[in-house]
């Protein structure tokens, strides 16, 4: 089984994240980045499937030079090879354009049985790329999987909703997005770190994928960030002093704000 995992290199949520002043895009150069934590679950799930049977795991990322670190982390965890789509024209792309580039890259990788993604990125957190990507590839999309099994050419997932738990199946090839409930991602062993140094990583440009630069980037984006402002510092909370009527005061406070 050939599995492609789509991963994103994101600014470290622990660090101070900023936007570029010139075009209001996320600053990906001056902030330390890493493999999006939500994508680690996708990598782990792919590795588990590959280890359980015959399979090869390819990690795919679209991003600037530094995004190679995201591929590297996935290779250290145990993925077999990497594909890095890196082209200056991609800068500022929205989800629509990103899904286009990913789709063309997956077509070029060829004969893919399963595409696994995280449920959202930890920077944009839109969560729409998996569905868009499946649409472009003409694949069934089974999203928000908290459990995944693949048997006899069928992928079965469990999706936990607020009111119900659904079991959904899709015939392969298919796209699955996974939640942070699905597994406990491994950390790279030293053998994994050493082995990753020798694993192949292909770097492709838009031209390699036959994608025209006018289809991607900030100018082609359907949405753009008009302005941004830092969140104001938190104001001092209100202290309710209990003089025997603490409960009533709390209830009044909550109902005033329509919480109860």
């Amino acid at each position: 089984m050939n599995i492609v995992v789509c991963v994103k290199y994101v600014p470290d949520a622990q660090a101070e994240r900023t936007f570029n002043a010139s075009d209001n895009t996320t600053d990906r150069e001056n902030v330390d980045g890493l493999l999006s934590e939500l994508d680690e679950y996708a990598v782990e799930e792919a590795l588990k499937l590959a280890e359980a049977g015959e399979g090869e795991v390819t990690v795919l990322t679209v991003g600037p030079d530094s995004a190679a670190d995201a591929i590297k982390k996935a290779l250290q965890m145990g993925a077999d090879k990497g594909v890095h789509v890196n082209d200056a024209a991609i800068h500022g792309s929205d989800a629509v354009a990103t899904s286009l580039v990913l789709a063309e890259a997956i077509k070029k990788i060829g004969s893919v049985d399963l595409v696994i993604t995280g449920m959202a990125s930890t920077d944009g957190t839109m969560g729409v790329v998996p569905a868009m990507l499946a649409e472009r590839l003409g694949l069934p999309a089974v999203t928000y999987a908290s459990e995944l099994t693949v048997d006899g050419g069928v992928a079965t997932i469990r999706r936990d909703g607020d009111a119900s738990t659904q079991t959904i199946t899709a015939t392969l090839p298919a796209l699955v997005s996974v939640t942070d409930q699905i597994n406990e991602p491994r950390y790279p062993s030293f053998k994994g770190i050493m082995a990753a140094k020798k694993k192949p990583v292909d770097t492709w440009s838009l031209a390699d994928l036959g994608v025209d630069a006018s289809q991607v980037g900030l100018d082609a984006a359907w949405t753009r960030v008009e302005s941004f402002a830092a969140r104001p510092p938190r104001s001092q909370g209100q202290i309710v002093t209990d003089e025997g009527d603490g409960g009533q005061k709390l209830a009044a406070f909550l109902s005033e704000r329509k919480f109860v």
């Binding site: 590297k72 982390k73 030293f190 770190i193 050493m194």
Partner: protein, 395 residues
């Protein structure tokens, strides 16, 4: 001259020393940190209090699966990492607890290194893969009840009986002793000091645990009793005679301590920094007082200098140019300063500083052992004194 804005200031790495590490070195550090965060940090204060490590064999196997055990050795299932990476791993382990770092140091740098460097092919293939995987635990017996800093005077003896060797004597303060599957034991012979690979199931061998320690409580420390322990000819380490054998191993472990001690310091310093920001007295956070700031800044300086020294020694070790005197320099400075950092951090936490609710007193007490083992402050001072003046002041 570049005029671009520098990256933000990191209070935990004030000089930006992280720049000096490669991506792979950071990956090694991150993996060890993650294992410790999951497997050690939530439990270690309790282990310390009870004077035990729960499921130590399970922990050893997890350390083995990550690749930490004997990580800087090549072949026989060892990970073949660099000395600098080994140092970074020791730092992360000791940021959790010196006892866990001791388990790893003794396994990899003392017991495994002795076999890897001085053992026969049979000894290597028998023990190293299992020890690297954490399936077999090793200990290293040099110190005796009456012999510490002067191991050349040891009393444990090995005598030949036909082809066999027979060992008699006692070893003291032996880390991992009671849980070990194999002991590397040093003994006097007619041919000078020699090392023996002793399976701990051999009749006449026992390893009672030493109790009542107030330091390194999350670590097993034992006495080794060798009562006419009969070993086959193949049990002796064939490739070394004399004190050079044990000293070469100590040199490896000391290198790890140069880094490890800084882990205890970092953990204490971070606890103090956080506490000082949250604790209010006289109407303001105590971190706002000049006296507290002087402490925090001095600790940051010493930590930073120690880390630079460790990194420099690591690069020398990787280049094959590190001398034993330089390891002494690093061990002496970094353990002494790290202990000072722990003590100063303790004062910032006030009464809370003596509670196991915070890591500080645990690190502080642990470093009292680290100050003594692997060569006391006095021994390393004498080594450096001799190196600098050309005169020996040992006796």
């Amino acid at each position: 001259m570049k005029t671009s804005t520098p990256p933000p200031f990191d209070p935990n790495d004030p000089a930006g020393i992280d720049d000096l590490l490669s991506a792979d070195e950071k990956a090694v550090r991150d993996s060890v940190r993650q294992l410790c965060a999951q497997r050690v940090d939530p439990y270690v204060a309790d282990w310390f209090e009870r004077g035990t490590i729960d499921d130590v064999r399970g922990l050893a196997k997890e350390l083995g699966a990550l690749g930490v055990l004997g990580m800087h050795l090549d072949g026989y299932g060892c990970a073949g990492m660099s000395a600098t990476e080994y140092g970074l791993a020791c730092l992360e382990l000791e940021a959790s607890d010196s006892g866990i770092r001791s388990l790893v140091s003794v396994q990899g740098s003392l017991a495994m290194f002795a076999i890897w460097r001085w053992g026969s092919e049979e000894q290597k293939t028998e023990w190293l893969p299992r020890m690297a995987a954490g399936e077999a635990i090793g200990c290293f017996g040099l110190t005796e009840p009456d012999i510490g800093s002067d191991p050349g005077s040891m009393r444990t003896r090995a005598r030949r009986d036909g082809d066999d060797w027979v060992l008699d004597g006692r070893k003291m303060w032996i880390t991992n002793g009671s849980i070990a599957d194999v002991a590397v034991v040093w003994a006097q012979t007619d041919d000078g000091i020699r090392g023996f690979v002793v399976p701990t199931t051999t009749p006449g061998f026992s390893a009672p645990e030493i109790k009542h320690k107030q330091s390194l409580r999350a670590s097993v420390t034992s006495e080794l009793v060798l009562d006419a322990v009969r070993l086959p000819a193949g049990a002796v380490l064939p490739e070394v005679r004399g004190l050079k054998g044990p000293l070469s191993c100590l040199n490896e472990a000391r290198f790890g301590i140069v880094w490890g001690a800084l882990g205890a310091a970092r953990s204490s310093l971070q606890a103090a920094l956080t506490y000082a920001g949250e604790r209010t007295q006289f109407g303001r956070p105590i971190s706002g007082f000049q006296l507290t700031q002087a402490k925090l800044v001095d600790m940051s300086l010493e930590y930073t200098k120690g880390l630079l020294l460790a990194l420099h020694l690591g690069r020398r070790k990787d280049a094959g140019t590190l001398r034993p005197e330089q390891v002494s320099l690093g061990k002496l400075n970094n353990v002494r300063e790290s202990l000072e950092i722990c003590r100063t951090s303790r004062t910032i936490l006030g009464a809370n500083g003596i509670s196991l609710e915070y890591p500080v007193i645990r690190h502080m007490n642990n470093l009292e052992s680290v100050l003594t083992y692997e060569g006391t402050v006095e021994m390393h001072t004498l080594i450096l004194g001799q190196a600098i003046t050309g005169q020996s002041a040992f006796r």
